[in-house]
């Protein structure tokens, strides 16, 4: 069993077997992270470029640590200005870097489709670390891993994705991944932040949070970007919190043994109360730890290294 593609561009089109393979592989790496010496020689000799065209804290650190724990050589390139503004095209930038002989590229960019674009101009394996509002596959994989870890299964569960559905790549990748694994998915957010024909993803759509979470197992709460207010998509932060903020009171509507997730960074007191964020059902820190294991698994499976071992 291996992955069909040598890149991970998104979870759309990735099969249940492939997702299971990644999650199963991540299980064994998860164990390595708990060891006193958190390093294996798996990717020795492999050079990974982390190309971050957008600010990122946890995803960048998570990938860097995953790479280092696999003994890859890593280099991280961060820029807040787009390549266009610098006068060099993205294509030229990455081809120049690849000329220094790298093997894998982890890319985050504000434009949807950039990871695919890179597959067309580079020979490296490409891993999408978030492109525009399109996909963020490793985040969704770590969410799946975390849910599976808690319940021992995915199929048959009910997950509600809450918040800015329109601009969220995390939501999109979660929808693809969860649905492929047989999870029942609902999205909930203000109507201005639900994208056109979102129901065509095959998800239940709600604007009433209480109805959305009634009888669900997992709530995955997205960060709300306060700039949305300026573009007229939201009336005020106060109103958003009243309508969509997750409170301890609301959690009573969920099934017993419910789970609270958040991909971070959190706006405490806005989309989630501190009580919920730090409550015993919250797995937000577990998500972060699992993120490393999942990224190690993805790097390993795409690197081709495993083929040499067989």
């Amino acid at each position: 069993m291996k992955l069909q593609s040598r890149h991970l561009l998104g979870l759309e089109g990735v099969t249940a077997d492939e997702i299971s393979l990644i999650l199963d592989t991540a299980e064994s790496f998860r164990e390595i992270i708990e060891r006193p010496i958190k390093k294996v020689p798996t990717l020795r000799g492999i050079t990974v470029l982390n190309l971050f065209y957008e600010p990122s804290t946890r995803t960048k650190i998570s990938f860097e640590l995953a790479e280092k724990r696999l003994s890859a050589d890593t280099i991280t390139f961060t820029t807040s200005t787009s390549s266009v503004k610098k006068g060099e095209t993205l294509k030229d930038t990455v081809r120049n870097i690849e000329a220094m002989k790298i093997n894998m590229v982890v890319v985050r960019h504000s434009s949807s489709g950039v990871p695919y674009f890179l597959t067309q101009c580079l020979d490296s394996n490409i891993i999408n670390a978030g492109d525009g509002s399109h996909e963020h596959p490793t985040q969704a994989l770590l969410d799946l891993f975390t849910i599976r870890q808690k319940y021992g299964k995915l199929e048959g569960l009910r997950v509600v994705l809450i918040g800015d559905v329109k601009h969220s790549r995390v939501v999109r990748s979660n929808i693809w991944g969860l649905k492929t694994m047989g999870v029942s998915v609902a999205v909930c957010g203000p109507s201005t932040l639900l994208p056109y024909e979102v129901e065509k993803f095959g998800v239940d759509v709600y604007t009433d949070l209480d109805k959305a979470i009634d009888g669900a197992d997992v709530v995955n709460i997205m960060r709300i970007q306060l700039e949305r207010q300026q573009s007229g998509l939201l009336a005020s932060q106060r109103e958003y919190t009243n309508l969509f903020g997750m409170t301890a009171e609301r959690l009573k509507l969920l099934n017993k043994n419910y789970t609270v997730m958040h991909p971070g960074p959190m706006n405490r007191g806005v989309e989630i109360t501190p009580e919920v964020a730090d409550g015993k059902a919250s797995v937000v820190l577990e998500q972060v730890t699992n993120g490393q294991a999942v990224r190690m698994a993805v790097l390993y499976l795409l690197s081709g290294k495993w083929e040499e071992e067989e």
Binding site: V84, G113, F117
Partner: protein, 438 residues
């Protein structure tokens, strides 16, 4: 040497001229750059033709002979972006695509918002392989703030005005433009997309934009823009032409306005009736990025219906050359537009005629008689003594669109690799063969 009665004869083709109501096999004669006559295939004419030197005879047997086609919506990029296209190269592409007349949009650098720039373009076009008519700006520097000197533009030769590329967002300015242009009996060509609703959007707003997480340009942005312009036109008069219609809603709005007797006409582009927005996912081909965007299957069907029932008067390419380096970027960073002069005939044949939607006569009317009427151009027909602008089409010839065959300086076409039916075999401008594809 014996003096010939004619300079050129096009022998045995199926001559279709909607303006003349002509549609049968005949011989077409040219003298001094003008149409000298159309004659039936009698023994006497056949004998006369046989006596003419070979290089004066084009055998069009089995082919279609039509008035030189008119593309009323192209971007020639000169002055300002001669790296992308020049008037000369754009007209070479036109000739290879069967167009003997092109109308160029004013969004150049500097913009065609003054007499001198109109004159510059017309002088550059004198030696080109197609006739160029100029569309002047509605507003100074296309800023949408103050009217351009439209009287001056018309005096210099402009045949219409447009701020193409942008909607005239200010309704008061659009009202004034329609009223003002009435004095000169020229149409205003509207790029109808509300700038607020479409701000920063780079593809149609649909499930596809939802799926890809790409900011959309909603269909309603076009519909509202079209409706507003129609209402203004109804109120103040003048002539309104809607460029590149893409949505079912806009087609319906135009259909209704025409039924009410409002002076509105419209055009559609091949890419809008041949492509759908679900083609963007996967490869994010920036050649599919265009304003207004490619839409849904339902919109394509409505557009075809509008072409069939005459709601849409014209077919135009919106030929928009862009430099390779500007298109070889992130999807949302690419400038909008694609080239189209050399693929229009093939796409019309493959996408409309072969599917039984339009006859050749209907299609040719939308690329000859109708644009000529709307813009009051002295071309678009084979009437005797008119300019000998003629296009010969090998109507069933199968061909593959190849980048290397583009005569445009830019190659940004999403149709590269497409297999099409219907190819231009010769293009004749004022009696001169400007393209011979054999």
């Amino acid at each position: 040497m014996k003096k010939q009665a004619y300079d050129l004869v096009i022998k045995g083709g199926l001559i279709i001229d909607p303006a003349l109501g002509f549609g049968r096999e005949a011989h077409l004669f040219v003298k001094d750059g003008k149409i000298a006559g159309i004659e039936n295939d009698t023994k006497a004419w056949r004998k006369k033709i046989d006596s003419m030197p070979d290089d004066m005879v084009i055998d069009a047997t089995g082919k279609i002979v039509v008035p030189g086609l008119i593309d009323m919506h192209v971007h020639l990029r000169e002055p300002g972006r001669e790296d992308e296209e020049t008037i000369i190269s754009g007209c070479q592409a036109a000739a290879a695509g069967g167009f003997t007349t092109v109308c160029c949009m004013p969004n150049t650098f500097p913009a065609i918002d003054n007499q001198e720039t109109v004159k510059f373009v017309l002088s550059r076009a004198e030696s080109a392989d197609a006739r160029v008519f100029v569309i002047g700006a509605v507003s100074k520097m296309l800023k949408g703030e103050e009217l351009a000197e439209i009287g001056d533009l018309v005096k210099a030769g402009a045949v219409a005005i447009s701020d193409d590329g942008d909607y005239v967002q200010n309704p008061q300015l659009m009202r004034c433009a329609l009223e003002y242009a009435r004095m000169f009996d020229i149409p205003i060509i509207s790029h109808a997309e509300d700038q607020y609703l479409c701000a920063d959007g780079v593809m149609n707003e649909s499930f596809q934009s939802t799926r890809l997480g790409i900011k959309g340009r909603p269909a309603v942005g076009e519909v509202i823009a079209v409706l507003r312009d129609i209402k203004l036109c109804e109120f103040v008069g003048g002539r309104l032409h809607i460029a590149h219609v893409t949505t079912a809603g806009a087609v319906e709005a135009i259909r209704q306005a025409k039924a009410e007797g409002i002076n509105v006409t419209a055009e559609a582009c091949p890419h809008h009736f041949c492509l759908t927005d679900d083609m963007i996912g996967g490869k994010f081909d920036t050649n599919l990025r265009v304003n207004p965007p490619i839409r849904t299957k339902a919109d394509v069907e409505a557009l075809v219906e509008g072409l069939v029932d005459g709601t849409i008067d014209c077919i135009a390419s919106d030929h928009a050359p862009h430099a390779e380096e500007e298109k070889d970027v992130e999807f949302d960073q690419a400038p909008p537009g694609m080239i189209g002069l050399q693929t229009t005939v093939g796409l019309v044949k493959t996408g409309l005629i072969d599917k039984g939607y339009l006859s050749w006569a209907d299609a040719i009317r939308k690329m000859t008689q109708n644009p000529a009427r709307i813009l009051n151009l002295p071309v678009g027909t084979l009437k005797v003594d008119g300019p000998a602008d003629i296009t010969i089409i090998d109507s069933d010839k199968k061909w593959t669109v190849k980048k290397k065959d583009f005569r445009s300086k830019s190659k940004n076409s999403p149709f590269v690799g497409w297999k099409l039916s219907g190819k231009v075999s010769q293009t004749i401008l004022g009696g001169r063969v400007v393209f011979d594809g054999k």
